[in-house]
Amino acid sequence: MPLKQPRFLARQSYRRRRMADAARLLPLLGVFLVLLPILWRPAESAEADTAVGGVYLFTVWIVLIVAALFLSRLLSAPHTQDTSGDEEPR
């Protein structure tokens, strides 16, 4: 639709959009980190790796939770002016 949109955004709106991008990309990072142990081939290695693997997975988990907490705080903060027609909830 030929709605008039500004071509460049103010600093605040710009930040906000990049945070939305980060929120879209976070699950991809998560998938990568969760599937990473496949490359270690723990089934073929000789040493006992359940304990190490467990620590790794829980660490990844905590990192993802903290990242999500950070992003959700930023994205749900009330924003002052953004009339750009982006898919922001109002």
Binding site: A23, L35, P37, A43, A48, D49, T50, W61, I62, P89
Partner: protein, 901 residues
């Protein structure tokens, strides 16, 4: 050891507590104090029904059997939740804007409100839920068994199957009492959500307590646990890449498509912002739930005798260590996990069954379809209750057929893969406008059948529903059709095999058929509304012309939403259009909103079908779509201000037209009034003159004299009454009337009026329906005047009700500071054109002779009610003439407020 009797008693007390919590939450919500009932915390906790008895008992068993693989079940949902911005946010927005009632409703609504799709999704969801419910029954039964085995006395049940039956019966009763108390227009259950939030806390606390006890009570802290893991049978991590990826994917899909997750995540969501809290808080909950799983598993494997069921370690470890109370808490945690899952799953499935199977069937079978009057809500509630019982019965049958012996996690995964079949249609529906209903139907069917054949049926074991021969050689000896080795691909894990074939063929069918079919107009519009839900463009409308009669629509809506809510909705809509009363103009916009409203109660497909029966020929066509598109382009060129202004103008114009019409009618009436009054005065005058002339004759016999004098007397009384009425009216109209305010019981006033009106046409037998207890409302007002209004209404009903067996219903109730009394008879009612005239002077619908009055009654009533600070209005759509009298409980307040204006 805790005695078995105490265990049962504790369960009952716990259930009682849940009831109290749910009841209190509903009471609060009814009073409008939602507050913390709808906080992000409660929302997050309600999502925890993802963690069922499978998590509580099964995860430890899973870890003891295959190490870290159990984590995939919780990492999948974590990935979906932290990616809320992409999928969940869109789902929740769509759910709110389209008033979606279930996942079947979402799919059916997206693909052109097609009920066929609703039915397919409902069938998949019900079939896939049976193993899951069986899992809950099995775990509760097993945990009862743990306690019962040591105590042969008391209420110990003879065998597991009987225990499972008791558990299933109890849960059915519980769910019916909990989830179907009322039919909520938004399908929101405050009480249920509150109760499952409480259960979420109980199961988390219980599992953490057992975990802490195991790590620091039995073992010696984390380093000891690490050493024990190294020494245990699960020290090595036999990661199978296929299963690792596949299980993560299936659990991620399931958190989106499980009917109960959809219910709490989308349907019960009250605020989109709660989702952003849940995006990190729910993964945290999952992390806490799985933190102690491996420690409990390794300690259980080491401490407990070989051969004990690892699914029950959470319970048997504390028992073996002599911690009866901790075991009790663990038992309650498991019980919570199972009950909360069963309650929400059964409610979600019952909603789907009643909206997509029972209601459409009933609509097509009933004579007159949606046009026939009647309250549908009782039927909907009853069908939901029966569906809940049926869903639990199916779960029980699965439990019995499968023998109740399999590992919990294995059963749960079967259910997960079943509902994951909905994923392609769902994701395609919200991101791809080209997805069509035919494609979705075919994809869903193909995926469902393959899942049924390769995983569900074989899960009953050899000699179950599929014979051992079919499993080994394929049906009719066709080698490449073997259920667990389709197309000759052998050696794959059965779950992975089913996952691969069902989802890939499902997606292929969905996409390829979508590419080659052409969607209908409604489907295209819904596709646009779903995919572009974040655009502010309202989009095209589903109805091109109104066409339906507002009164018929009101009668139908009352049957579904309930009288009060439907009337409120219609009144608000009429007001927004600048009209008074209960009947808005049936513009396409209004019909659209009404359909949404109905969809919230009975699902979009049924609501669409019901509206379609009224607005015949008004459904949108492809040509309309194109017209709307070009029209929309033009509208965009106008500034928004202009648009708002023209809307304002249109509203004013409508009001002016209405006022003008009324003025025209009034002028006609004024003429009629003059001729009427002359006529009314002349007729008695003529007879008085004639008879008094006769009386002048001195030869008249005495009895004739007496008779004629009587006639003259009667006629003068009639004249006096007419003049009295006129005077009364003019006093009332000038607000000079003196009111005699007293306290009275409304019940006495109504009784007095009914008594007084009984000499109007006393030959007619009238059946009167009154609700005596509800009528006892104190009112402070001019009681004589109020009774006068009541008498007028009752005697009007007696005079004009043309039913063969006349009936009159009087409903009284108090709403806020107002008393509302409805008088409804069962006659043919008042035609729409006359409805706004009846309160005018000398407006009489039938001929004078029959009415026997001057047509001033209702005009006086209206003036009286205005003087009392109340209103009187005609109530359309009640199946007869209906009047609503409404007045303030205390008269002074309203009058003062009116005077201040």
């Amino acid at each position: 050891m805790v005695p078995f009797n105490i265990l049962v008693a504790v369960c009952l007390v716990y259930v009682g507590l849940l009831f109290l919590v749910a009841f209190a939450a509903e009471r609060r919500a009814e009073r409008g104090r939602v507050g913390w009932l709808r906080s992000p915390l409660v929302y997050t906790l309600s999502l925890s029904i993802y963690c069922t008895a499978w998590t509580f008992y099964g995860a430890v068993g899973y870890a003891a059997r295959s190490g870290l693989e159990y984590l995939t079940i919780y990492l999948g949902p974590t990935l979906v939740l932290i990616g809320w911005w992409v999928i969940l946010r869109k789902l929740v927005r769509i759910g709110r804007s389209q008033r979606v009632t279930s996942i079947a409703d979402l799919i059916s609504s997206r693909y052109g409100k097609s009920n066929v799709l609703g039915v397919i999704v409902t069938v998949i969801a019900v079939v896939a839920a049976t193993p899951y419910i069986a899992l809950q029954l099995q775990s509760v039964t097993l945990s009862f068994g743990v306690f019962a085995s040591g105590t042969p006395e008391g209420w110990a049940l003879p065998d597991q199957s009987a225990t499972a039956l008791w558990v299933a019966g109890g849960l059915t009763l519980f769910t019916i009492l909990f989830g179907t108390r009322n039919l909520d227009a938004n399908e929101r259950h405050h009480g249920v959500v509150m109760a499952i939030a409480l259960e979420a806390v109980v199961k988390l606390v219980a599992l953490l307590a057992v975990g802490i006890f195991v790590v620091w009570g039995v073992a010696d802290g984390w380093s000891d646990i690490a050493a024990r893991v190294h020494a245990s049978p699960i020290a090595d991590w036999p990661l199978q890449p296929g299963r690792w990826i596949g299980l993560t994917f299936v659990s991620a899909a399931a958190v989106l498509t499980l009917p109960r997750m959809f219910q709490v995540m989308v349907v019960e969501n009250s605020d989109e912002r709660h989702l952003s809290t849940a995006s990190w808080a729910f993964p945290l909950y999952l992390l806490l739930m799985s933190l102690f799983v491996v420690p409990i598993a390794v300690v259980g494997l080491a401490e407990l005798p070989a051969g004990s069921n690892p699914d029950l370690f959470v319970l048997t470890l504390p028992l073996a260590e002599g911690q009866g109370k901790l075991a009790m808490l663990a038992f309650l945690g498991g019980f919570s996990s199972a009950t909360s899952m069963v309650i929400v799953a059964a409610i979600a499935l019952a909603t789907m069954v009643s909206n997509h199977v029972v209601m459409p069937l009933w609509l097509s079978l009933r004579e007159g379809g949606a046009r026939a009057p009647g309250d549908v809500r009782g039927l909907v509630l009853m069908s939901r209750r029966i569906s809940i019982a049926a869903v639990l019965a199916l779960g029980y049958i699965y439990y019995v057929l499968s023998g109740g012996s399999a590992a919990l996690a294995a059963i749960g995964l079967i259910a997960f893969l079943g509902v994951a079949q909905i994923l392609p249609a769902m994701i395609g529906g919200i991101f791809w406008r080209g997805a069509t209903g035919t494609g979705a139907a075919l994809g869903l069917t193909v995926g469902f059948l393959i899942w049924l054949y390769t995983l569900y049926l074989p899960s009953f074991g050899e000699g179950g529903l599929l014979s051992a021969r079919i499993l080994a050689e394929g049906p009719w000896g066709i080698d490449w059709l073997r259920p667990q080795a389709l197309f000759g691909i052998e050696g794959l894990d059965p779950l992975l095999h089913a996952l691969f074939w069902s989802l890939s063929l499902n997606t292929f069918a969905f996409v390829s058929v979508s590419l080659f079919t052409f969607p209908g107009p409604v489907e295209r519009m819904q596709g646009l509304a779903f995919v572009n839900v974040f655009d502010h463009d309202p989009g095209a409308r589903g109805w091109s012309r109104g066409g339906a009669e507002a009164e018929d629509l009101l009668a139908m809506a009352q049957g579904i939403l309930g009288a009060e809510e439907a009337q409120g909705f219609f009144e608000a809509e009429a007001q927004a259009q600048g009209k008074a009363g209960f009947l808005p103009e049936t513009t396409p916009d209004f019909i659209e909103r009404l359909e949404r409203r109905l969809a919230g109660a009975v699902g979009s497909a049924t609501a669409h079908a019901m509206i379609a029966q009224f607005a015949v020929g008004a459904a949108v066509s492809a040509q309309d779509l194109m017209a709307v598109a070009s029209e929309a382009q033009q509208i965009l060129e106008y500034s928004t201000q202009l648009e708002a202004k023209s809307e304002e103008l249109a509203r004013t114009a409508r009001q002016l037209t209405e006022a003008n019409d009324k003025l025209k009618d009034l002028s006609v009436q004024k003429d009629a009034f003059l001729s009427q009054i002359s006529h009314e005065l002349r007729t008695p005058m003529t007879s008085i003159r004639a008879f008094s002339e006769i009386l002048k004759d001195p030869d008249l016999p005495a009895e004739m004299q007496k008779k004629y004098a009587g006639v003259i007397h009667d006629e003068t009384i009639r004249l006096t009454r007419l003049l009295d009425d006129l005077l009364d009216l003019s006093v009332l109209e000038n607000r000079k009337v003196k009111l005699d305010v007293k306290v009275a019981n409304l019940h006495d006033l109504i009784s007095k009026a009914v008594q007084a009106a009984s000499n109007t046409r006393p030959e007619r037998q009238f059946t009167l329906h009154r609700d005596y207890p509800a009528e006892h409302i104190p009112v402070i007002t001019d009681t004589d005047r109020l009774v006068q209004v009541f008498i007028n209404l009752v005697s009007n009903a007696r005079k004009y009700c043309d039913a063969e067996r006349p009936e009159l219903t009087i409903n009284a109730r108090q709403r806020g500071g107002r008393v509302i009394v409805d008088f409804i008879d069962n006659g043919s009612g008042i035609p729409k054109a006359s409805q706004r005239l009846i309160f005018e002077k000398f407006a009489r619908l039938t001929d004078t002779a029959r009415a026997g009055g001057a047509g001033l009654g209702l005009a006086i009533c209206r003036e009286i009610m205005t003087n009392l600070g109340g209103t009187i209005a005609y109530l359309p759509g009640q199946g007869g003439a209906a009047f609503r009298v409404s007045l303030p409980v205390r008269r002074e307040v309203a009058i003062d407020a009116a005077a201040a204006e």
